[in-house]
Amino acid sequence: MTQPPVLILGARSDIAKATARAFAAQGHPIQLAARNAETLAAEKTDLETRYGVAVTLHEFDALETTRHEAFLSALPELPRIAICAVGHMGEQEENERDTAAAIRVMRSNYEGPASILALLANRFDERGSGTLVGISSVAGERGRATNYVYGSAKAGFTAFLSGLRNRLAKRGVHVVTVLPGFVATQMTEGMDLPEKLTAHPSEVADAIVKAVARRRDVIYVRPIWRLIMTIIRAIPERIFKGMRI
């Protein structure tokens, strides 16, 4: 049985790489899309060697929204599953001082990812099938002093995914929102993250594969995060604003 292709956007991310492996392990051909795509040659060879699947590389910049149509048209085949791992955290302090930096974070986490998924959604809708996976963040569940620029963009992206899911629910197209808690990746390297709350990228990948198969809507990778966020969301603003969290 031949499996349909999977498109990975932001393919150099650690979570994306692990996700590419998890789908390739099931025999899916993989389309890796990233900036400077040619530097992913070793990842392509790795997937081909490990799993004997076909892998293609595609130049993709989430911020160059005017090129997104052309990017999709150039893919060897419209994918059945598309996963967007694009994201950029920046430094909160810098985001407070430097508007250009803040705008970059906003665009990289919301505008870019939403733009490409919107175009994919239309094509999937037309075909009447497909699954879109957006990697957002628990940081978008409530704005906090330590990362609200990133968080607000993720909040926008989460809302966008929810709306898209609502629109496409009866059209045969499924949308998965991934809200990983802490994940040990390049983005968080050097941060002192609590071990019990921090997932390995392969855990995120396995959770995504499962969510796609079971048509889950919103997943938190480690279940504890659902509880943590329920509590954080429930704190009255009057109290929340005085907290250091």
């Binding site: 392990a25 070793a42 990842e43 060879t45 790795d46 060697t49 490990r50 799993y51 004997g52 390049q186 390297e189």
Partner: protein
């Protein structure tokens, strides 16, 4: 950050770098005054820790090529043996040599020159290594093989990371007809019987024995000897034979918290050992088991190293030359029984002949046991060290976390030549681990 090996002892503060490309790795080797490679941290002690700069190899985990004609895999050193199995067992290939856990990197398997249950027939991991790309003290990469840079090749395999950093390697796999193993279990009432069984079973591909360490007198060394063969299609049931490489996924359990160390008192270990012996004796005979349960029973319990509690544990593993094996093993087992510190895992294995500059195996018998770290067991292990030296044996550095430099020196006539090699390549001061410092290698 705090680092330890699998035994969680000792725990050391170390600076860790996790490069994502071979170029970044080379740059680190050049810029840091001294470094050591770290694979998946499955060595028990401090061999993969350098407090100044430990280089975590796990991001360098890409496979590069596979030759379906010869079974050769080329990969970066951080690839796990378990990943090799996941990719190539479905195509009919299995590692030529595997240790008792699949969670080791290729780099770690080469650096420790690991052995499996087939050492008596197939030798150590070295036998399946075709070449390695080694990063030297200047950050330069050298291809090393039996034809090219041979001395470096020979010393790197078993060199515990002290000759340089393995960036990539080519290893050969063996063709197999299925993912199943035909296992025969033979109970042996004592050590002599166990050794006789090993000697009569030299043709078996795999052999290993589990020893009940609390046997005394007539039952000293009573054990279960387990022989194994890769099952052929003819050995399988029709259902198994239809998909011979699909053995079914195992449920992983994990040990969620640190067991308090008092659960491992003498009584519970006695009970455990008895149970093990009788259960094995009861179903003695031939069984078909899947590769994962056969080779890696402990891998099914993630984080089992926590059962020994916070203080951690140590493994004692020595090899005794064939001629002295029975007497030496008796002396070791008597000493252990005397102390009443019988451990969960006591494993006995026959090694075939091996000549190599610094690898652990030699022809004879190897005994491995875990002990929780206490004052009593540390003292016991020192006595076991002495017995080993008295009988002309030596120690496995991948398991060591506590030996003294004097003990090591006394057991290792090869140390001088190994040092000469390190000096000749300018590696001696550059590639160092907490272990190499402790043992004054």
């Amino acid at each position: 950050m705090k680092l330890s090996g699998w035994g969680r002892y000792p725990v050391l503060e170390a600076r860790v770098h996790a490069p994502r490309s071979v170029e970044a790795l080379q740059a680190l080797v050049r810029s840091e005054p001294s470094v050591i490679a770290r694979g998946n941290g499955r060595a028990y002690g401090d061999s993969a820790i350098n407090p100044a700069a430990t280089l975590d190899m796990r991001h360098l985990d890409r496979m590069i090529a596979f030759d379906a004609g010869t079974g050769q895999v080329v990969a970066e050193a951080g690839v796990l043996l378990g990943d090799v199995i996941a990719s190539f067992l479905p195509r009919g290939w299995f590692p030529m040599v595997t240790p008792g856990t699949k969670f080791v990197t290729l780099g770690g398997a080469i650096a420790a020159d690991v052995h499996g249950k087939n050492h008596h027939r197939d030798g150590s991991f070295r036998e399946c290594v075709d070449w390695i790309d080694l990063i030297g003290a200047e950050g330069e990469i050298r291809r090393c093989s039996r034809e090219q840079n041979r001395a470096l090749f020979e010393h790197t395999i078993g060199g515990m990371g002290l000759t340089g950093i393995i960036a990539r390697a080519a290893i050969r796999l063996r063709p197999v007809e299925s993912g199943w193993i035909r296992q025969t279990t033979i109970p042996a009432p004592n050590l002599r019987a166990a050794i006789a069984t090993f000697e009569e079973s030299q043709d078996a591909t795999y052999s290993v024995a589990w020893i009940d360490c609390l046997g005394r007198g007539e039952t000293l060394g009573r054990s279960l000897v387990m022989l194994g063969e890769h099952a052929t299609r003819a050995d399988l049931s029709p259902v198994q034979a239809r998909r011979p490489f699909e053995t079914g996924a195992k449920r992983k359990r994990s040990v969620p918290f640190d067991f308090p160390s008092f659960t491992l008192n003498r009584l519970s270990v006695t009970a455990f050992n008895k149970l093990y012996y009788w259960q094995g004796a009861r179903k003695a005979g031939v069984e078909i088991v899947d590769w994962d349960s056969y080779f890696y029973p402990l891998d099914a319990i993630l984080g089992w190293n926590r059962i020994y509690g916070r203080k951690g544990f140590a493994q004692f593993q020595c090899v005794l030359p064939l001629a002295e094996a029975e007497r030496g093993l008796s002396a070791l087992l008597e000493e252990i029984a005397e102390t009443g510190a019988g451990s969960f895992l006591a494993v006995l294995k026959r090694f075939g002949a091996q000549e190599s500059p610094f690898s652990f195996p030699m022809e004879g018998y190897t005994l491995a046991l875990d002990f929780p770290i206490t004052r009593k067991t540390l003292a016991l292990m020192e006595r076991l060290d002495q017995i080993t030296i008295d009988f002309g044996g030596r120690f496995y550095l991948a398991k060591d976390s506590r030996m003294t430099a004097a003990t090591f020196r006394a057991s290792e006539p090869r140390l001088r030549d190994f040092r000469t090699q390190l000096d000749a390549q300018g590696a001696a001061r550059h590639f160092r681990s907490a272990q190499s410092e402790r043992l004054e290698i």
